[in-house]
Amino acid sequence: MSSKKIDIKVTDISKGQGILVPIEPVDEIKLPPPYDKLEELPGFKKLTQQALDKYDGYVDGVIAVGVPKPQNEEEEQKLVESFLSGLMKLFSNENNWTFLQPLVLSMEHCAKCQTCNHDCPVYEASGEEEIYRPTYRAEILRRLYFKYVKPGSPLLKKFQYGDIELNWTLISRLVELSYRCTLCRRCAQSCPIGVDNGLITHELRKLFSQEMGIAPKELHEKGTVQQLEVGSSTGMNALVVKDNIEFIDEDMSEKVGFKVETKWDVEGADVLLIHNAGEILSWPENPGAFAILCELAGIKWTLSSEAVGYDGVNYGLFYDDVQLARIVVKHAEIAKKLGVKKIVMGECGHESKVLGIIGERIIGGDVHTENALTFMENIINSGKLNLNPDRNYFPVTLHDPCNLVRIMGVVEPQRRILRKIAPKFREMHPHGVRNYCCGGGSGFAVMSGNNFADWRMHFSGKMKFKQILDAFADEDLNSNSPKYVCAPCSNCKGQIRDILDFYGAKEKSGIYYGGLVELIINAVDDLKEPFIDFDMM
């Protein structure tokens, strides 16, 4: 049942104490059989009383962040003051020189045309829930900007831009609301003026983290903080990562019949490969396939065993510029110290964006960066691999990770590869820069506390599942003969795994998922056994 009948205004964000709009899964995005019965799906977990007592920020009956309740009025007042101080910093050159200009432009120039709304998969999946409208959250910040930051007569500004009451209710709800957008920036792409609602959400998260110390623990405490302290957001120290890679090497050697051996800390190597460390633990075939690829191509490559150097993730991108800088500087130092020619990022979208766009400028000099997709295409073009596409004779579709494709513009290399190695490759629609997010973007794939995992399935991830099913519409969805969703990004893979589990799509329709490098190695004709083993997936 849809709750969209509740008429919500921007000013309602500061009003009342309870849940602003209690949401429920709706059936706005129609899925084909056997997935067309909403009532057969696992429901939406209600928040426990313990959670309700502990946290603030009731916007939709979902908790992603868990905003601690202030203990008394004095504390509450301090939080409001700290929000205001953070707001001023967002709009000051010395504190936010990197994003100030696009942020101000996005504040000043939204024409309220609402063109962006239907580009948002969350807004669509919710049956046009007002609080998920891309401009709803943006309008709250916009009114605060005009009221508190922009000079001018208060009365005139109120009349011209609309008023809003700043209080703890608004702030705590806005924290949660800034974690209901995957930062996919599909809306920014469709804006005729160039207003970036994704950026606005990002700036809000920054304010909450950098000024108020509020951030999801999966991204901060267990994410960037753990990565800087232990070496990896997964908790792997150097000893563990070496042990795991040795295990993968042995496994791969057995599989391919020749010795696969990862080398560590090779000075002057052509390539320093930095995987998202989650691959090593959860999808070992992926780093395994990279090792095989580099061996076959005769590349002088290495991994780094220095803390942070073996984990390419940088969750700072999603919520905190300071944490982002700490990690990217560390990656740059490691590459410089080893004197490698370039860093190649593993199949990870946000890592590719951070190192490829931001990191490249910090590293400077002779160290360059390359994303996995162009790196792999160059190897294939070199003719060093003996490829037989018939070894991939099963339906394959391609997911476009937002950071790599829409944001960085890496669109064709992965498609040219698939056209060469996967005879039954078909596109999703829309695709390329018009793709839909997997629903796990901006760190959501690793966030599942309270009932947020349910939200990811019913709201942010539903459009992607529909796209996957539609891509295989010419296949029998009631048969479990293998179909492969190629998702060259760890974060997207985590979300797609959860979606497929949630709908039972592997059992019902034989829908599997994995990266791109695994498909390449599966097409190598010299291997006795297929590299991809669907029974193990």
Partner: protein, 105 residues
């Protein structure tokens, strides 16, 4: 963090039911946690997996790779799912008192 009570066992768990203080784990705690995972009794097969996870965790401070768990205990992933319906990470690790896995896993 919520308090979880089962018979005489009282432990603090996170939002997903993982132990907040893994050092408080004992065999009674394992039974208590198993009760949240649709596991009616802990058989010898369960214990083999739990003990492997505990030993690995003690040595390395995190959960092992799933592939390693399968290879070194001799159970297939399918068998692990039969024993622990939520799977190795969300089910077996929880009962073994490990902290919730972190990062892009």
């Amino acid at each position: 963090m919520p308090l979880f009570e089962w018979e005489e066992v009282k432990i603090m768990v996170d939002e997903d039911g993982f132990m907040e203080n893994p050092e408080e784990w004992n065999e009674r705690v394992a039974l208590a946690l198993a009760s949240t995972e649709d596991i009616s009794e802990l058989t010898e097969d369960h214990w083999k997996i739990i003990n492997y996870l505990r030993d690995y965790f003690k040595q390395y401070g995190i959960a092992p790779m799933i592939r390693k768990l399968c290879k070194e205990t001799g159970y297939s992933l399918k068998q692990i799912y039969e024993l622990f319906p939520s799977g190795p990470a969300k089910g077996a690790c929880k009962v073994a008192g490990l902290a919730k896995p972190t990062g892009c896993v």
